[in-house]
Amino acid sequence: MATEDQQGAPSVVDRYYTRWYKTDLKSKPCEDHCVLQHSNRICIITLAESHPILQNGRQIKSINYQISANCSRLQNKVSGKSKRGGQFLTELAPLCRITCMDGEEYTVFSCIRGRLLEVNEDILTNPSLLQEKPSTEGYIAVVLPKFEESKSVTQGLLTQTEYEDILSKRRSTTPEPCS
């Protein structure tokens, strides 16, 4: 995984964010997420490189933020400095459902506790963004953890090194990569 651009100097993400990972969400193999945590405690939820959707050949048919009959992440509205009104999320709260051309459906989860600030509407009109730039313009959502929980919010997550360990273990145990 490239953590630095060709420039040799750290990118925006490298400079200001710490990468945290959650793998095999809901025991589904390889459905890995990456949480980018800014030094100001704001978290960006993205798909990790190893996620099936980001593998070669997959084509996204649609992305849906309506996660239940009563709840659409698109209706999320925050106001004021304290971001009142944002939907509160727990680790396994679904953010959106992604359907691929081959019929496979994937759910993207929050991975952390906090207030939902915004979801990325650009990927609705341009789903390829998600695959081309999963760590930047193709982000899924922005979440603000509670102030008291800023440090503890990543306790259940893996560090970069731990994630890479899991990846190498996968490569050695299974003959085929996750698809």
Partner: protein, 531 residues
């Protein structure tokens, strides 16, 4: 007493009998001549008792006859009895006035209304005491004004006494209203101002920036106000930073609301006599703020504008604010300061050109007058003390002038110079189109790096002009002139696509910002100073 009229006589009697000091009596008679109050306590007492006594001898005879006379005569007698104070039911008028006079001769009983403020704390001795405090505080001042803070219960006692006066002369139609009564504070200042002015050798000026405040307390009667809470509970709401719920304002409000009958049920008219007199809680000096403005340059990429402290821990050494204000604080001997500027830059951004306007409010300065020469020297001292910043156009300004500061934040343009990195390899021709872009509109969602403390919103901004200078395959310099409030870094790297359109879109490649300088802040305030 030539200022008092016949109609004042019953008021004077009632008040003296009630236990009011002479100056309070004068207040309720609406005497507005300041010099009257400055007369000595003894003189005033004598004049008032003499005034009150006129016409009393006749009345005492009438009273002794009262019991033996048939009812038809009583009507006539009752008329004369109007001059007898209501509170006096046992003795005759002459006796009680005599009583008052005797008491005041030995040692004045504490006044039931002003609780001694207008008796003991407005003489030369007290002025001397105040002066000593002022001198030891070591302020520079050419005029002064005194302010007084009185315990809230004085309003209650004042109100009770007013009701008493109103009742006494009610039948004759008291021409003056409550507003014509001279306030304790006013009378106090009339007396103390000339005294303290003489002690300190400076004139008194209502607009003086130097204030000497005297605070009085009277713990014995603090409970006087409490009954008001049960009658008008919604006047007394506990506030965070106030010790007692019975603030002066709250008490005054409640007194305005309460009905006379209800008041009289709970509080005696006239008020009861206190055992002790007021105490001076403290005498404090306060000078109004000094405003110093200028423009600053920042040459360091590791210097925050304001002190950077998180959870009591200093995250980065020093700051623009501290480097500039350190010397100002010392020379003005101020207690604290407020630093404000026309916008600000990040730690890693330099401020070049004419610099950014700033203003510092120095709080409670012990010294607030400086010559132009002294300010010039101050500027030099600041500039010599650090190579990370530079100050120009340093000058003293008024509070009104501070408004210009924020004007610059919203309405003015700023010029920048950024070092850009491109992911794809570029040639000179690839960046030429940038020079032709004019009035480029962008929408910026609140940048993620400030989103924790700013509301989420979309800000439309305009980039007025741009110019690109080729450096090498992956680098070029970008000069921009933008609307105030534009986030330059986010325009360059796109902030996860949340600033649209951005430089990455324009260049069709990933672009990042390596360095940023502010070239100019286009505000023409503060006025330039010739060197």
């Amino acid at each position: 007493m030539h200022l008092l009229k016949e109609k004042d006589r019953p008021v004077v009697r009632v008040l003296l009998n009630a236990g009011c000091c002479p100056r309070c009596v004068l207040r309720f008679c609406c005497v507005g001549l300041q010099s009257t109050y400055r007369q000595s306590y003894k003189d005033l007492m004598k004049e008032l008792t003499d005034f009150a006594r006129v016409g009393e001898c006749k009345k005492s005879n009438a009273e002794t006859e009262e019991e033996n006379d048939p009812p038809c005569k009583k009507i006539k007698l009752e008329e004369t009895e109007d001059f007898i104070p209501e509170s006096d039911k046992n003795g005759t008028v002459t006796n009680s006035t005599q009583e008052c006079l005797t008491l005041q001769k030995d040692e004045p009983k504490t006044c039931v209304v002003c609780l001694g403020v207008l008796q003991h704390f407005c003489d030369k001795d007290f002025a001397k005491q105040m002066s000593r405090v002022v001198e030891s505080a070591n302020y520079q001042f050419s005029s002064l004004v005194v302010s007084v803070s009185l315990p809230a219960q004085l309003s209650v006692r004042e109100h009770a006494t007013w009701l008493l006066v109103k009742q006494e002369v009610g039948q004759q139609g008291f021409s003056s209203g409550k507003d014509d009564v001279i306030q304790v504070k006013e009378a106090y200042k009339w007396i103390i101002h000339p005294l303290i002015s003489e002690e300190l050798g400076v004139p008194v000026d209502g607009k003086s920036p130097f204030e000497v405040s005297v605070a009085f307390t009277h713990s014995e009667t603090d409970g006087d106000c409490h009954f008001l809470a049960s009658v008008c509970s919604n006047c007394f709401k506990p506030a965070k930073n106030k010790q007692s719920v019975f603030t002066r304002m709250a008490v005054i409000k409640a007194l305005e609301k309460i009905k006379e009958e209800d008041f009289r049920k709970q509080f005696s008219c006239p008020p009861n006599s206190p055992e002790t007199k007021c105490e001076v809680q403290d005498i404090q000096c306060l000078h109004s703020p000094l405003y110093v403005a200028g423009r600053y340059n920042k040459y360091s990429r590791t210097l925050p504008q304001t002190p950077w402290v998180i959870d009591g821990e200093r995250k980065m050494e020093s700051s623009v604010e501290e480097l500039i204000s350190e010397h100002l604080l010392a020379v003005s001997r101020a207690g604290g300061l407020n630093f404000s500027s026309s916008g600000r830059e990040d730690v890693d951004v330099r401020t070049l050109g004419n610099g950014r306007p700033f203003a510092i409010e120095l709080l409670n300065p012990h010294r607030a007058t400086f010559t132009k020469e002294e300010i010039k020297n101050l500027q030099q001292t600041i500039n010599k003390s650090s190579d990370k910043i530079k100050v120009r156009d340093l000058q003293i300004v008024t509070r009104e002038a501070m408004v210009h500061m924020k004007e610059g934040e919203e309405g003015k343009t700023k010029c920048y110079n950024a070092l850009i990195w491109t992911e794809k390899a570029i040639q000179t021709s690839d960046i030429e189109f940038i020079n032709n872009i004019k009035e480029f509109k962008i929408d910026q969602k609140t940048p993620l790096r400030v989103l924790h403390r700013r509301p989420l919103a979309v800000r439309p901004r305009v980039i007025h002009t741009m110019r690109a200078e080729f450096l090498d395959e992956h680098h070029f310099r970008l000069y921009l002139k933008t609307q105030a409030g534009t986030y330059i870094k986010e325009f360059v790297h796109g902030d996860f696509g949340r600033t649209k359109p951005n430089l990455c879109n324009l260049m069709s490649t990933v672009t990042d910002i390596l360095e940023l300088d502010v070239e100019s802040v286009d505000v023409d305030w503060p006025p330039a100073i010739e060197d």
